[in-house]
Amino acid sequence: MFSLSEVAIDRDRCSKELADQSAGALVSFEGWVRDNNQGHEVKSLEYQVYEELALSEGQKIITEAKEKFNIKDALCYHRHGHLHLGEIAIWIGTTATHRDDAYKASRYIIDEIKLRLPMWKKEHYLKREAKWVFCRDHHTHVHFEESDYYFRQEKLVDQSKLKNAKVVVIGAGGLGSAALQALAGAGVGSLSIYDHDKVSISNLQRQFLYGTSDVGEFKVDIALKKLRELNPFINLNAINKAVSEENILDIIAEGELILDCTDNLRTKFLIHDACFKLSKTLVSASIYRGDAILRAFDPKRSLGCLRCQYEETPSDSHIGNCNDYGVLGANVATIGMMMSSVAIDLLNKGESHALENSLLINLGELSIQKVVNFKKFDCPVCLGDVEIVNLGLEVSGDEILDRAMTTLDIRELNEIEDIKVEIEKCDGEVALYCHRGFRSLEVVKGLREQGVKRVYSLRGGASTLVKPTSCHL
């Protein structure tokens, strides 16, 4: 319940309204009238509200908090009228079985109220004239103007182009943390963020969106909070989801420009192929210690794609179990920031030197080498002629290793029912293989239609089953 009150708030009465023997925690927040603000001594305060609007918006916030967090109840009283020093201006109480939910809901409600409630405050100062301020978040009653925010870049970019831009950033790790800060700061109007990891302690040395108190939380949740605090003038959309063959086209379709900030080749090729299929601009980077490759692709121009440049698509198992190679925050953030420079140039001018070239960046030697991309003229991917869905049904020999799949030879199994029996005996994901990979693909399609989800077909058949390579240094 959200209420407005013209008389002093009684904290004990409020708390008792929330009494509940099944609750284990009450978190209450009280906003007090301070004797100073931004260096000026304050005597007293006057709050003025649009009652109807405030009541409906306040109630909405309480309802949202109940939906978002596992709480028993939430209550908020907001004072208006004339308040003296030390008086309670707002009281918020949240109850829950466990304290974590109570804290989070409490924080949510006060943050949203400060942001959304239509409320004016008149501060009576000791030494200067009283002043009405519109209460925009927190202690700073600054009236933020969008044009003030972008003042320092108004000669460099066409702000309306950035404001109208829709960018999808996949991966909110080392590259993503940096790139997201810069894209949000630049004012990209719509920013979608995909990640499915939680913040861990070993992330913090390089993923500067996160701090120690965020450990254990989902990255997208924290990223959303931090970026909203960084720039209130953009639309943010943070989704806790791993990209896959099944959802990649929908995800890519959301944006006009995609930033690939992921850390594995499987996902990188998936994003790349989907961008070419849907003709979306792509900025992609990868880093190994102090060395990075930065590339941009615009499928609308015939400048070649990543697959043009490889005889064979490299897989994560080729570059080994080298997740322990190590990376410095300074290096990965430099590259993430450069990705956003490239993205902003592409949004603003449609041009970047990263379009026709791959940039080999060596942060140890502080050098950038440009290598002109190679284009195969019959490359099906360049032509957008790639079947993403099949990517979801088929796997390569390397992927079988990467994903520790069980393999099942179906050359002697003629009946689909017999195959199902064999699959039942296997744990985890199962890769079916036949001689050439054609029949196994058909079988997998059939099984998927019957609802069997964890089956794949080995692309190319039995002869492509591979042994692991390693890259121990």
Partner: protein
């Protein structure tokens, strides 16, 4: 005998132990050259996923080596 300069990128640099080197070679193509280098330094990566840039352009491994070429061998990089 052709004189070329070779640069190594990322993990290849670490395996080679040098950022770059000048070399005299009788190899015909970059494929031959890479196979020869692999024998000395055990890059432990299939040649099919190594990119080669000759004089600042991506090229095919079959490209004929010309005296004075500046070549970079580039392994896939995935970190983020």
């Amino acid at each position: 005998m052709k004189n070329i300069s070779i640069h190594y990128f990322a993990i290849l640099r670490e395996k080679r132990g040098e950022s770059s080197e000048s070399l005299q070679t009788e190899c015909q193509t970059y494929r031959d050259l890479f196979i020869e280098l692999d024998k000395s330094y055990s890059f432990d990566l299939p040649i099919s996923i190594i990119q080669v840039a000759v004089n600042d352009e991506y090229s095919l491994m079959e490209r004929e080596i010309v005296d004075g070429d500046k070549v970079v061998f580039i392994p896939p990089v995935a970190g983020g």
